[in-house]
Structures are given as structure tokens and as C-alpha cells.
Amino acid sequence: MTTVIEVQELHKRYGDKIAVDDVSFRVDEGEIFGILGSNGAGKTTTVECVEGLRRADRGTIRVLGLDPVRDRAELTQRLGVQLQGAHLPEKLRVGEALELYRSFYREPADPATLMAALGLDSIRNTRFGKLSGGQQQRLSIALALIGNPRVAVLDELTTGLDPRARRETWRLIEDVRARGVTILLVTHFMDEAERLCDRVAVIDSGRVVALDTPAALTKRAAAELGVERATLEDAFVALTGETTDVH
């Protein structure tokens, strides 16, 4: 297996506050790798360093063999990014946004194919400001994929979506992976991680407290709790609860 993302001993602080204390993980090609953590655990800072939006204080990061800060120009060509929250001008139409972003990349995907795959055809002339939360999310996934990236970082993908839209989005992500795209998924929804991720890193207070498959984590949690079957949420609560005392 080729390693696509490698993070080693990442450390980042803002003033007195340590956001990321010591985070290391590797993501293999074709994986959906989850980063789980409560709000403020350091997961967004971690992926922002991976995306090159922030400079790490210490540690090394390689994405497709590139340094996110030094090789920024090349990385932006090859890494698809979906950020939390809205990020397009309100009056820009769906089709226009895709055409615009397509022009940014060397070897872009076909906007028509992406629009069809993400169900954006019927809203191609709708302005961004008039889209529902689910529609905005689907557009931002399309924009993350328009550059034909081999790796995509998806941050809080389904926050604010209704259950139906969440399930549809999950199916989309599985389709994307089926096309050979490696995915780094940031989430605090355990059911989402359990459903989608091959492996997850649980981050608490800026440290990786567990790194394994969801199945292994739930099995271990069940054993520790003395129950027959535990969910990933049980495992998460057990893992992150403990470390608060240790720190």
C-alpha cells in the first residue's frame, strides 16, 4: 500500500493554548480515514496543517510526497478540499461556480459528469445563497472534486444536514472512494465514522488517543465495558473521558 498522507509528531500552539500536542498518522491509498474528536480537540487544526492553510510549529507532514507549505502550488493542484461552512459568493450560480473552479486546475474533471453524479443538474442556475444546506454541501463536494484530486479532505461534511441528506452524502462519499480517491474525513459524528471509515484516529486534547479500525475500537470498548456489543460512540466516550484525567 502506498502512503498518501503522512503526519509525524505534529505540534501547533496559538499563544499559550496548545491546539495540537503530538499527532501522528498515515493514510494509505484508497482509504477513507477518519479524524474523530470533540469540538476543540485539535482536529481542524490538524487538517489545516495538512492542507497547508497553517504552518506547523513542529513535526513533518507529507501529502503525496509534498510538503504542504513548501510545495503549496503543486499541492493545491492535487488535493481536493471541502471546508466547514459556506464559501461562495451568494449570487454565484451553481454551474458558474463549477466552471470557474474548473479553470483553476491543470487536469480538471468534467463539470457535467460531476453535476449529474451529485444531483446538481436541476439547480445549475440557482444562486449559492438560495441553496438549501444539503445542496450547498453537495456543491462543496463537487468543488472539492473538480480538480480531479487523488486525495480529498472533507471537514464536518454532514453538519447541519437532515437524516436523509446525510445518508445521501454518505453514499456519495463511498462513490468517490470507489473512483480511487483517498479521503481524509473530519467528523464528530460517530455513526458517520462507523459507516464510512476504514480506520479512524481519535484525537483528544491535541493527542491521538486511539488509532484503529472502527470494528477493533468497538470490540475493545465492549470488552472493557463488559457488554456484548458497543458502538463507536461508546468507544469514543470511553477513550476521550479517560484522557481528560490523565492530562
Partner: protein, 248 residues
């Protein structure tokens, strides 16, 4: 970075600028409409009521040129740029090969290009519909207008840099617009201001600009200090803007 991306980005920003309507209506059409209203009032066209034996309409033409520049810079750029930052548009662009700086470049180009069109329209209507002579020192006029546009764009970027939201930037931009237009003589021409007000006016970018444009219209080069005031605003706002503006 392909030129196609740059062209598309600028075209896209221009489409949004048109959809927003503020710039085209208040920056391009409104000043010429105001000129046309003044031009149809005898008080403005009778030299007997004017300054230095010229009809008031002659005095107001450079003031309306200042209006065009101030409206386009102060009422469209701050809300757009601060709004883009607030909504994460600039942050999203940071993750693409294009980056956010080029959006600012596109915005400046649109502001300057639109101002050029609006000033040419204004001067043409003034000349052909109302017999206001074209600037007799065109080079000085063009240079002053360019410096004024750059100075006001600099002020606009500063406003966008220090305000957290698009709405706040819009409010501050509008207030600055009225203050600057006052010192540019929209309500009381600079020549008619009391000495104290006139001195304050000379120190404001639009006041200095209108005085220099008035000189150029009459056929002579403005005093160097007026152009230096404008150039000073350009340099200071550019340096501060670069220091203070944040993508996020």
C-alpha cells in the same frame, strides 16, 4: 496559473458586480443622471450664479467625477471584500491553485475599469448635452483621476481590513463616502467654503482630487502638493492595507 483562470475569475467577479447593481446604478448611471438634472436647471447654467464667472455646472462636473470614484471604491469594495472574508470565500480560494490575492486584483481591475467608463460617460454627456468644455489639460485630469481612484481603493481596502463583516464594512464605507463627498464640495463647492473647511478639504483625498481636477479642467496643471497628497494616500493606504488585511 493559467491566463484562462485569471480571465474567468475576473469575468465571474464582473458578473457578480453587475448582479449586485450598486456599482452600475449608483456609480455609473446616477452621477450622469445628477449632472443631467443640474444641467436642466437654469441656476446651474447661468454664469451669473457661478464661481469665477463660470456656470455652476462647470464647477460640479469635477465634483461628480469624484462622486463616481468614491461611490465605486467606497460603496462596492468594502462590503464585497469583507463579505468574502466573512463568508470564507477567500479561505476557500486559499486551498486552490489560484489563491485569494487574485480576487482582490480582479476587484481592483473592475473598479478602475468601471470608473473609467463612468467618467468618460459623464464627461461626454456634460460636453455634448450641456456644453461643458472637456478638460483643457487632459493629461493632468487623467493622472489626477487615476491617483484619486487608487487612493480611494486604498481607503476601501483599509475599511475592509478593519471591519469584521460585510455589513459593518458597508456601513463604514457609506459614512466615509458622505464625509468625503462633503469635503469634495457636493453640497457646498470648495471655492465657496470658509477657509477652515477649505483647508480640511485640501487634506482629504477627494477634496485634493476635486481641486486638482478643477485646475486641470480649466487648463493648467494642479499644484504639485495636491498630487502629492493623493500619492501619499495611495502609498500609506497600500502599505497599511497589505499589513492589516487578513484572508480569514
Amino acid at each position: 496559473m493559467s491566463t484562462d483562470a485569471l480571465r474567468r475569475l475576473t469575468a465571474s467577479e464582473f458578473t457578480l458586480f453587475l448582479r449586485d447593481k450598486v456599482g452600475p446604478i449608483f456609480g455609473v448611471l446616477f452621477p450622469t443622471a445628477l449632472l443631467s438634472v443640474f444641467g436642466n436647471i437654469d441656476f446651474f447654467t447661468d454664469p451669473a450664479n457661478g464661481i469665477d464667472g463660470q456656470p455652476l455646472l462647470y464647477t460640479y462636473t469635477p465634483i461628480l467625477v469624484g462622486f463616481v470614484i468614491a461611490m465605486l471604491a467606497l460603496n462596492t469594495l468594502p462590503p464585497t471584500l469583507a463579505g468574502y472574508r466573512e463568508q470564507g470565500v477567500l479561505r476557500r480560494l486559499r486551498t486552490t491553485p489560484v489563491g485569494p490575492a487574485r480576487v482582490l486584483g480582479a476587484q481592483f481591475a473592475i473598479c478602475l475599469g468601471t470608473a473609467l467608463v463612468a467618467v468618460v460617460l459623464l464627461l461626454a454627456v456634460a460636453r455634448f448635452a450641456f456644453d461643458v468644455p472637456l478638460p483643457r489639460q487632459p493629461l493632468a485630469f487623467a493622472l489626477t483621476a487615476l491617483l484619486a481612484a487608487l487612493a480611494l481603493i486604498g481607503v476601501a481596502v483599509l475599511v475592509a481590513a478593519v471591519t469584521p463583516t460585510g455589513k459593518a464594512a458597508n456601513a463604514i464605507g457609506s459614512v466615509l463616502f458622505y464625509v468625503m463627498m462633503f469635503f469634495a464640495g457636493l453640497w457646498l463647492p470648495i471655492q465657496a467654503m470658509p477657509a477652515v473647511l477649505r483647508h480640511v478639504s485640501e487634506a482629504t483625498p477627494l477634496g485634493a482630487a476635486v481641486q486638482a481636477l478643477t485646475d486641470a479642467s480649466a487648463g493648467h496643471w494642479p499644484p504639485a502638493w495636491q498630487l502629492l497628497v493623493l500619492a501619499g494616500y495611495v502609498v500609506v493606504t497600500a502599505l497599511l492595507g497589505i499589513r492589516l488585511f487578513r484572508w480569514e
